[in-house]
Subunit: 340 residues, 2 copies
C-alpha cells in the first residue's frame, strides 16, 4: 500500500508532516510513503529518525503552493510544487493508492480534480470529515465546503459516497443517512432540501432516515449527514467555534475562580484533556475528498505529527476498503437503474 504525502503546504511543514508520515510507516506493516517536497529539507527532518528506509521514498519538488495562491492558477503554473508533483505521481503510479496534504484546501481540491480526475458518474466530488459524536462512533459530514451551490442530485451522490466512507471506517454495511435541515420534520427545509429529501427517500442505495437538525449532528444518531457545502461548512465551523468558546470561557472561569477552581481544574485535567482530544476531529484523520479516482485526504492546515499520522493511516484504510471502486459501482448501478 503506497500513500503519497505532500510534505509541504501545512502550517507545520515539513517537520511535523514528515514525522507524522514516518509514524504512520512505523505503525502499519507494509505501508509505504512517498514524501514529496524539497529533498534536502525532508532529509534534514529524517536525519536520526528510526524507520524502515525501504518503505520511505522522497520525490523532490522545490516549490510550494500556499494559501495566498489562487488555486486554479497555482495548479497550472507551479509545476514543481509538492502538491502538483505529488498529485501527478498519484495519477500516474498504479501502485499509489492515496494522497495526503495539509496544504491549501482550494488547491488540493482543484489539483485532485484536475490531476487524478473525477469518478465517472459522480456529479460533484465533495469534502467529508469524520466528526466525533457523543456515542463514540464518527459521523461523516458531506459536503463541508467543496460545493457552495448544489443541486438535489449532488446531495444524493454525497450520501452514496459518504456511506461508503462510513462503511470503510466502521465496518457498518448499512450506515444511516440524515439530511442537514432546519428541523427534523419531513416538511422542513429550503427549496434545495425539499427536493433532495424526495430523491434521498426514493434511493435504494442508501439508508435514509430523514432530516437531521444541526443540533443532532454530533449526537451519533446518524452515521452520515449530507448537506450542500455552504451549510455543511457552517455547521462544522459553528461546532468548532462553540467548542473553542466553551474552553475559552471555562479557562477564564478557572483563572478567576481562585484556589478552589484551580485545584479542581488540576484534578480534572486528564478528563478535560480527554474531552478536548475526543472533540478534535483532526485526531481522527483529515477530511476525505470523495468522488476522485484515487483516495485524497485533506488534513487540517494546522496539523501536527499526530494528525498527519492519523490522516496517512486513514488514507490507507480507505484505499484498502476499496472505497473508490465501491463509489464507482454504486453510481453506475444508480445510472443503470435510472435508465431502466
Amino acid at each position: 500500500m503506497k500513500i503519497i504525502v505532500d510534505a509541504f503546504g501545512g502550517d507545520y511543514s515539513p517537520r511535523e508532516t514528515v514525522l507524522g508520515a514516518i509514524d504512520a510507516v512505523n505503525a502499519k506493516d507494509g505501508l509505504q510513503v512517498v514524501l514529496v517536497g524539497d529533498e534536502k529539507q525532508i532529509n534534514n527532518v529524517l536525519e536520526g529518525e528510526k524507520y524502515d528506509a525501504s518503505r520511505v521514498e522522497i520525490l523532490h519538488a522545490p516549490d510550494v503552493i500556499t494559501n495566498e495562491d489562487v488555486p486554479t492558477t497555482a495548479i497550472k503554473t507551479k509545476k514543481d510544487s509538492s502538491l502538483v508533483k505529488g498529485l501527478e505521481l498519484l495519477a500516474s503510479d498504479d501502485e499509489a493508492a492515496g494522497f495526503v496534504s495539509s496544504g491549501s484546501t482550494g488547491a488540493v481540491l482543484v489539483g485532485a480534480y484536475m490531476k487524478a480526475g473525477r469518478i465517472k458518474g459522480v456529479s460533484r466530488p465533495a469534502l467529508a470529515p469524520a466528526l466525533p459524536t457523543v456515542k463514540g462512533k464518527p459521523v461523516i459530514l458531506c459536503d463541508c465546503g467543496a460545493n457552495v451551490d448544489c443541486k438535489p442530485l449532488n446531495l444524493l451522490h454525497f450520501a452514496i459516497m459518504a456511506s461508503a466512507f462510513s462503511t470503510a471506517l466502521t465496518d457498518n454495511a448499512k450506515p444511516t443517512v440524515g439530511l442537514l435541515s432546519n428541523g427534523a420534520e419531513e416538511k422542513k427545509g429550503n427549496e434545495l432540501n425539499k427536493e433532495a429529501f424526495e430523491l434521498l427517500k426514493a434511493s435504494p442505495y442508501i439508508d435514509f432516515k430523514g432530516n437531521c437538525e444541526a443540533r443532532d449532528l454530533l449526537s451519533g444518531d446518524f452515521d452520515v449527514v449530507v448537506s450542500d457545502g455552504f451549510n455543511g461548512n457552517i455547521a462544522l465551523k459553528s461546532a468548532e467555534g462553540t467548542a473553542n468558546a466553551i474552553f475559552s470561557i471555562l479557562l477564564d472561569g478557572i483563572n478567576k475562580g481562585g484556589l478552589r477552581a484551580k485545584l479542581g481544574a488540576l484534578l480534572l485535567k486528564p478528563v478535560l484533556r480527554g474531552v478536548k482530544c475526543k472533540l478534535d476531529y483532526n485526531n481522527q484523520g483529515g477530511a476525505c475528498f470523495l468522488g476522485i479516482n484515487k483516495v485524497v485526504v485533506k488534513a487540517h492546515g494546522a496539523s501536527k505529527r499526530k494528525s498527519i499520522c492519523a490522516s496517512v493511516l486513514q488514507a490507507a484504510t480507505l484505499a484498502k476498503s476499496g472505497i473508490v471502486e465501491k463509489i464507482k459501482a454504486s453510481v453506475q448501478a444508480m445510472d443503470e437503474h435510472d435508465r431502466d
Copy 2:
C-alpha cells in the same frame, strides 16, 4: 410599560411562565403585565405569591395552541387560544408595548404577522436571538429560522433590524455587522451571499465588516451576524448541539474518571455551572421577532421561570428603546435614499 404574556403554550406553562412574569414585575418598577390564558389556572399559580396586584392583569383565554397545530390554521381557528387573544390585545391596545410567548415558534411568527402586522417597508420579519460571546457582550443572529429562502434585500433588512436590537441591548450606537459565510474572505459565499455582500457593503445604514465564518459567531468580533433563516438556524443549532455534546462527554469522563475526577468536578462545579449559565442564551431572554409593528419576543419552548422573566424584561427594554420606530425610520430613509 405594558407587556402581554402568553401564559400557555410552553413546556412548563402555566406555572413557570406565570412565576417568571411575576418575577419581572417585581424586578422592574412601573412594569405591567397581562397574563393571557385560563383564568382559573393562572390564579392557582398566583395564589400566595407576592407582587403588586395593580400591575398584573389576567385576560381569560380557555384554549391553547400547541406544537402539533398547523400554525396558519391554528391562528385562524383557535380564536380563544391564549396566543390569539394575547396578540389581538397587543394589536388593539395602544398601551401594550410588547408580547412574550414560549409557545409554538411557527404559530407565534404567523400570529404576530397576521395580528400585529409587518412594519411598512420591511421585506421580511425575522427571528433574532441574542447569543453569548467569549467577550461577554451579546451577538444578534438574524435570521435564525423565520425565512428559509431569502433574497439579498431581506438580508439588508435583517442587518438594519438586528443593529437596532443590538443598540437597544448594549447602548452601542454603531454595532458591527457580519454576513455569515463559509469563509472570511470577501469572495467567499454562495450566490445569495455574494449578492447580499455587495448590498450590505454599499449601505450607509449599517456598519458592515464583511463575512463572518461560523467559527467566529461566538467570538464577539461582530455585534450582529446576518444570514438567511436556514443557515442561521444551522449555525445556532450546531452551536447548541456542540455545547450539549461537550457537557455530555465531560460528564461521561467524570463518571469514568474515578475519585480524582469526581473531586475535581466537585471543586470546579461553580465554574462549570457558570460556563453553562453563560452559554445558555435563554437566560438572556428570548429571540426577538423583528419587523413587526410591536415588540414580540419568542422565549424557548422549554423556558422556566428565570428565562421567562428575562424575556419579559427584554421585551420591556426593547419597547423602551423605541426599536419599532427606529426600524421604521431606517427602512423609510433607505426607501427614500433608493428613490433619489
